[in-house]
Amino acid sequence: MSGHVHKDYTGAKFGMWLFLFTEVLLFGGLFLLYAVYLARYPQEFISAGKELNVWFGGGNTLVLLTSSLFVAISITALRRGAKTLCLRLLGSTIACAVIFMVNKYFEWNAKISHGIYPGSDHLKEMQPGEMVFFNLYYLTTGLHGLHVIIGALVIAWAMFLIKKDQVNADDWVILENAGLYWHLVDLIWIFVFPLYYLILH
């Protein structure tokens, strides 16, 4: 199993899965802090969670889930040789990423205009548990937002390679790995959303 033009698909996907483990553990640090501080300040976490808008969060959840569906279909499309359809689906995924980030911008903007952001005077007047909640909220959603942007760039790169036919119906592991990364971005949001937005329900 070697040679100059050798392509090891299993190896490539294996490496990607290992990388996804590391991403899960990266966010794991934040989830661990959430668990410890939730156990310490349960009431204050609930009262702070009421400040978050379920519609913003729920809307973004739908947007991300839809985008993951687009990516999954796009891989099948490419494997069946439907290059144009694949590119359109990937374009829709990036559009979803943009919608997500715009939505996030308005959400953060609303919070910040109410004086709720790390280090603000208003935040420092709140209960300790509420401060922790919002600081964690900004770090977690911020880091996740960064991953949405990176994921969109990775998909744009895959589109570029598909356009140049370097990724095609016979050689599609790069697209599959890009898709795996995008699903991770989606997966992490699936955990972030209930922890922060649905905590009082």
Binding site: D8, F14, T22
Partner: protein
């Protein structure tokens, strides 16, 4: 190890066939041997810088009071010594340098699974290293927190901790990518006949190490990222005034940094496991036990982090549990030591330099490991916590262990890579001088620590003067040994006698190809493995 047909290649092997002209033959190469050498020389350079800083620390402690530097400078110097030695020498040391050089050859592969990613890891390492060094000269002065970056001090100090945190994040990313590259390589690129139970123990140790790199390093990433956010935008997750808890920083830090000590030591154990059978002319005793103990260390080592925090204010129950787990993790290490000794027993021992360095590993690591148990016992730890006993302990395991293993690997594999042999007599003399200096230096530290001298101060009470001066003299002897050793190695690379393919009589695959190895390691035909890595009879050596 197998019937490899030696293909006709030039005498200079992979040194001849750069893909790009001039320096780019190295800077843009994706060949694992060239990347390994890039790592090797960077790592050796940083080791020398770290060693000079260590000598300066010892010089300052030659007499009580201010000797050559003030308190603030001293804080910066020991922080830098720690950061350079930990993040730029010990952690990448053996895996990135010798792992890259040797591991693919031991598996019978042409390269690692992701060669471009491998080169990218090196660039991340260099970027992180440059940022770490830059943090000394920019911002509010060199970081003065120690390599552990404990909050609240690290969140408040005006020195350049933010940039150092970014450097650690990038170095961690480099470590992760190397780890996932190695795991994938070992799973996917073993040649025909290279079953799991025929993998040389050095590569096995890299496999266990790579898993720790993958699973633990992201945690330090997020921890220093949170420290960075706390300093820059005031997220206050570890700030009690904002409801945070500084102890959580220590937990997150050690969730990575304790497994990280096994990232440091496991490859060293792998080097020793490869060297001891070759120089005893005997198959490795308990091959499977060593494999399993490597994996056991990787697993159990992930469960003991809080033994660094006995005095930080944990519950008694937590202290008890972590103390117990710490004792458990000593078992697989002891299994390895007994197996090495059993391999040596009744062997036809050749006292060549690689074995001497490996033997000093066994001696010094055992002393260091046993004093680790003193620290692992909660009651004793309260007495010696944050004293020079701790400093002596971790220098025994890290320098006496990993450092000696790095030097053993240097003396064992560099003749293969460069195709030239150093002077064995000088190597032996340098080894003896180093071990003597080492023992004087670090045993003095342990005793003065037992007497109560705390670490991390530039000053001490006059009662400790004698032992401190002894330690400083030991550091000079050690330095002489180091200079002699490196000079001999470098001279050997340029002017040493040419060596044949198998100067030591090893049975694993790297000894079956020419020295230096050709560009594609094995030529057109992939090797077929028919026996284990220490089967000297079947390899035709005995």
């Amino acid at each position: 190890m197998s019937d490899v047909t030696t293909t006709a290649t030039s005498e200079r092997g992979f040194f001849d066939e750069g893909q790009y002209p001039g320096i780019f033959a190295w800077l843009l190469s994706t060949d694992h041997k060239r990347i390994g050498l890039l790592y090797f020389w960077c790592i050796v350079t940083f080791f020398c810088v770290g060693a000079i800083l260590g000598l300066l620390i010892r010089l300052e402690l030659f007499a009580p009071g201010e000797t050559i530097m003030g308190a603030q400078t001293y804080n910066a110097v020991f922080t830098l010594h720690g950061v350079i030695m930990i993040f730029l020498f010990i952690i990448p040391g053996i895996p990135a340098a010798f792992g890259n050089l040797i591991m693919p050859i031991q598996l019978g592969a042409r390269d690692v699974a992701f060669p471009k990613l491998n080169l990218f890891s090196w660039y991340l390492y260099i970027t992180g290293a440059i940022l770490a060094v830059t943090s000394l000269f920019t911002g509010g002065g060199p970081p003065d927190t120690g390599w552990t970056f404990y909050v609240p001090f690290s969140a408040q100090t005006s020195t350049n901790v933010s940039l150092a945190a970014v450097a650690v994040f990038i170095l961690g990313f480099s470590s992760i990518l190397t780890g996932l590259n190695f795991v994938t390589t070992i799973h996917r690129l073993r040649t025909e006949g290279m079953t799991w139970m025929r993998i040389p123990l050095f590569t096995w140790s890299l496999y266990a190490t790579a898993w720790i790199q993958i699973l633990a390093t992201p945690v330090i990433g997020i921890t220093v990222a949170m420290l960075f956010a706390e300093r820059i935008i005031g997220t206050g997750l570890f700030d009690p005034a904002q409801g945070g808890d500084p102890i959580m920083f220590q937990h997150l830090f050690w969730i990575y940094s304790h497994p990280a000590v096994y990232i440091m030591i496991l490859p060293g154990m792998g080097v020793v496991s490869d060297i001891v059978p070759v120089f005893s002319r005997k198959p490795c005793f308990g091959y499977k036990a060593i494999v399993v103990s490597s994996l056991a260390i990787a697993f159990a080592g992930s469960l003991v982090w809080a033994h660094h925090m006995y005095t930080s204010g944990m519950s008694d129950m937590a202290v008890l549990v972590f103390s117990f787990l710490t004792f458990i993790v000593a078992i697989p290490s002891a299994i390895k030591v007994f197996n090495w000794l059993a391999t040596l027993y009744e062997g036809s021992i050749l006292l060549d330099p690689p074995l001497l360095y490996a033997l000093s590993f066994i001696l010094l690591f055992t002393i260091g490991g046993l004093t680790g148990l003193v620290l692992g016992a909660a009651a004793a730890d309260v007495h010696v916590h944050d004293t020079y006993f701790v400093v002596g302990h971790f220098h025994f395991v890290m320098f006496g262990g990993t450092g000696m293993a790095f030097f053993a690997a240097m003396h064992y594999w560099l003749p293969k890579i460069y195709g030239r042999m150093y002077d064995k007599t000088i190597a032996t003399v340098a080894w003896a001088v180093m071990v003597i200096g080492f023992l004087i230096l670090y045993i003095s530290m342990k005793i003065v620590g037992m007497q109560g001298m705390p670490r991390r101060y530039y000053d001490y009470v006059p009662e400790f003067t004698g032992l401190n001066q002894l330690a400083t003299v030991g550091s000079w002897i050690l330095a002489v040994g180091l200079v002699l050793m490196f000079a001999n190695i470098i001279r050997g690379i340029f002017k040493g006698d040419p060596v044949e393919a198998n100067p030591w009589g090893g049975a694993s695959l790297e000894w079956q190809i020419p020295s230096p190895p050709p560009m594609e390691n094995f030529g057109e035909e992939d090797p077929v493995v028919t026996h284990g890595p220490y089967d000297f009879t079947k390899a035709g050596i005995l």
